[in-house]
Symmetry: C2
Subunit: 385 residues, 2 copies
C-alpha cells in the first residue's frame, strides 16, 4: 500500500427534504451568494423557486450565473469571476450536477487570482485562495459535490482539462434523492456510467496489496449495478435512487483510492472524444472503458480476473484466465447495454475520420499502462464497432 | 435508507515515517501542547524520544499526562483538565491507542466546561467548546483517531460510559503502520476484534435497503479477516499491518454506518464485563458477539444469511437457512480462535457468579433487537462455556 494523505471537509446532508436546511447552512457565511445553475430543469421542477424563496425569506442577497451546459465552458467561468468581483460575492452556491459544480469551483478558484484562471488547468499556477462553495445536488454522477477536482472545456481548440485542489471541496452538499426522480433515464444512466468509471480508474492499479480499497471499490460497483437496474424498473424508487446518489459521492471523494496509484487513461481518452463530438461524458465512458480493458488487460491478468469474479460473478474454472477476463468485460458491456448506454462509437454515429487527431491530442496518459498516441488510437479502433 | 448528516474533518497522514510530519502539523496552532500517553511502550520503542526531540527542535512547549491505562479512568481526565488550565494548554496530542485518545478527548471536552466533565457522559451537558486534538496512532483498534466518540470509566461504581460529539474528532491522525510492528500479537488481535465489532454493530440493522453501506461493511470485514491472518504469520508484514490500520479507522469513522440504524448492544454488554473484570475490550467482544448473534438472529434471518454468505463464504443450499446462519457464526468464532482470542467467558476465568448483576447494570440496549436485563442475562449465559 502506498503512503497517502486524506482529508475531506465536505458536510453531507442527505435525505428527504434536505434542501430545506439550505438557509441555515448559508447564514453563517453572512455573504452575498452567487447562485449557479444550468437551464430549465430546476425551474421546471420548482427547485429554483423554492431556493429563491428560502434565500429571500432569510434575507440572503444573491446574484445568478445560469445557462451552464454539459462539458462546461471557460467563457461562463470568466463571466462568473467578473460577477463575483463586481457584486462582492462571498459564497458560491451550485444547484445542479457536475457541470454546474465544476463551473462554481472554477469561479471560486479564479476570483482571488490575478492571472487567467485557465493557468490552473495548464499547471502554470497553484491555488492560494478561493471562495467557499456549497452544493444542492440534482444529478448523481460526477462526484464533484465532495471532490477536490473539476473539469472545464476551453472553447478555443476544444481543450478539456482538469484541476484539483483540496480547498475546492465544497463546504456542504445537500443531497435529496427525490430531486433526482425527474432525471430522464438516459441521463441517470450516464451518471451511473460516470461513477462506475470513477471507481474503475482507481480499481485498475499496479499498486500491490490494496485489499481494503479493492473491497470498497468492488462493493460500491456491485451496489451501483444492482440499484441501477432497480431505478430503471422504477424511476421513483427512493431507496434505489438514494443508493445511487450516495455511491456517486463515495466513488469520487478520493477515499476508495487512498494508498493506490490510480489510472485515469479512460477519462483522458473520453475527454478528447466528448470535447470533439460533445457527446455525454457517461456515454463516452461506456464506449471507451471496455475498449481500454481489452487493450490493457495483459498488464495484470490477475486483477482483471478478480474484477470478473468479484464484481461480475464470473465463475469459470481457474484455468480459464482469458475467458474469465473477457466474460468480465462482456458482462460490463451487457450492463451498459441493459441501462441503454452505447458501447461502440458507431452507436453514437462516430466514424474513424478523427480518431488519429484525437489520439494525438490525448497525449500520453494512464498509469496502469502508460499509453502513447498509438495505444490510444488502438483503443479508439477497438471501440469503433 | 435513512436520512443522515456526515462530516469528518480529520486529516489522515498515513504511511512510513509519517510521524516526522508532526511538528509541521502542530506549528499552526502556536500553542503549548499536552502530550498524553500510556506507559512504557512508547519509551521502549523510541517513539517518545523522537517526538520530544521534534517538539524541542521546533520550539513547541509541552506538558505531559502519562500513565493512561486500558479502560481509561476518569481520575486521569480530571488530572489532564487541571494541567490544561494551570499550564495554559492550547492543543492536546495523544500518542497511543484508543484509551489514550479517549482520555485526550475527555480532557479536551472538560477544559472549557465549568461543571464536572462526567456530566457529558451522563447526558447532563452538551459540548460547547473544546481544545483541538491530534493523534499519533500506535494501536489500530478503537478507531478513535477519527471518530467523534470516546469511552471513559468512572472508578466509583466502575461505570463505563461513552460520549460523542462531532467537534471531538481529532484535527489530524498520523498513522505509520511500522509503529504497530512491536505490538504483542494478542493486543493486535484484540484490536482486530474491536474493529470487526465496530463494523458488525453497524451491519446488523433493521433499516431496509442499505446496499451501499452493506457492501462497504462486508468488504472491510473480509479485508480485516484475511489480513489478520497475514499479520499473525508475519508481524512485520508492512502491507498487512497497513490494511489493518486503515480498516480500523474506516470501521469507526461513521462513514459505513450512514443511512442505517446501528445496534451497539454487544458493546454495552461488553462494557459491563470489562468494567467488572477489567479484561481487554477486544477479548470481551470476541466472547459477547457470537453469543449476541445466537440470541438475536431470529429478528432478521435474511441478514444473518447474508453475513454468512458474503463475509464467511458459507455456500449451503438456500433451504438450509438455520444451518447457514449457525455456520456463519461458527466461522466467526473459528476466526477469533485462529487469532488467539477467547469466545467463551470460561476461557478467561469468568464464572456465572456476577452475570445477573452485570445484566442489570447494562440496562436496556440494542436496536436490532431491544434487549432487557433478561435478554442480556441470556446472552451472558450463552457466552459462558
Amino acid at each position: 500500500m502506498n503512503d497517502f494523505v486524506f482529508q475531506n471537509k465536505t458536510k453531507i446532508i442527505f435525505g428527504k427534504d434536505s434542501e430545506e436546511r439550505l438557509a441555515s447552512l448559508l447564514t453563517p457565511y453572512n455573504s452575498r451568494v452567487l447562485l449557479v445553475y444550468g437551464g430549465g430543469s430546476i425551474k421546471e421542477s420548482g427547485l429554483y423557486d423554492k431556493i429563491v424563496s428560502m434565500l429571500n425569506d432569510n434575507g440572503i442577497k444573491f446574484s445568478e450565473l445560469s445557462g451552464i451546459i454539459p462539458n462546461p465552458r471557460l467563457r461562463k467561468v470568466y463571466e462568473g469571476i467578473e460577477l463575483c468581483r463586481s457584486e462582492n460575492i462571498g459564497f458560491i452556491l451550485a444547484v445542479g450536477g457536475g457541470s454546474v459544480i465544476d463551473t462554481a469551483k472554477a469561479v471560486s478558484a479564479g476570483v482571488r487570482y490575478d492571472g487567467d484562471v485557465w493557468d490552473f488547468f495548464e499547471g502554470k499556477a497553484e491555488l492560494q485562495a478561493c471562495l467557499p462553495i456549497g452544493v444542492v445536488l440534482t444529478i448523481p454522477a460526477a462526484g464533484s459535490e465532495s471532490s477536490p477536482s473539476l473539469v472545464i472545456t476551453k472553447e478555443e481548440g476544444l481543450l478539456k482539462r482538469d484541476y484539483s485542489h483540496n480547498e475546492l471541496r465544497p463546504q456542504f452538499a445537500i443531497m435529496n434523492p427525490e430531486l433526482t426522480y425527474s432525471l430522464p433515464f438516459y441521463q441517470t444512466a450516464c451518471g451511473i456510467s460516470d461513477m462506475l468509471a470513477h471507481i474503475m480508474e482507481r480499481y485498475f492499479t499496479k499498486t500491490e496489496h490494496v485489499d481494503v480499497s479493492d473491497r470498497l471499490c468492488e462493493g460500491l460497483m456491485r451496489a451501483i449495478i444492482s440499484n441501477a437496474k432497480l431505478v430503471k424498473q422504477n424511476p421513483d424508487d427512493y431507496n434505489a435512487r438514494a443508493e445511487i446518489m450516495w455511491a456517486g459521492t463515495l466513488a469520487h471523494n478520493d477515499l476508495i483510492g487512498m494508498g493506490r496509484e490510480t489510472d485515469w487513461a479512460s477519462h483522458a481518452i473520453e475527454h478528447e472524444l466528448s470535447a470533439v463530438y460533445d457527446i455525454a461524458h457517461g456515454a463516452g465512458l461506456s464506449i471507451i472503458f471496455p475498449a481500454w480493458m481489452k487493450h490493457v488487460y495483459r498488464e495484470d491478468e490477475e486483477r482483471f480476473v478478480q474484477f470478473a469474479q468479484r464484481v461480475m460473478d464470473v465463475e469459470f474454472p481457474n484455468s480459464m484466465v482469458y475467458e474469465t477476463i473477457m466474460e468480465g468485460i462482456s458482462r460490463l458491456e451487457n450492463f451498459y447495454t441493459c441501462i441503454g448506454l452505447p458501447t461502440r462509437l458507431s452507436a453514437v454515429g462516430i466514424d474513424s475520420s478523427r480518431l488519429e487527431e484525437m489520439a494525438k491530442k490525448a497525449n500520453s496518459c494512464g498509469r496502469f499502462k502508460r499509453l502513447d498516441a498509438s495505444d490510444i488510437y488502438k483503443i479508439y479502433r477497438l471501440a469503433l464497432e
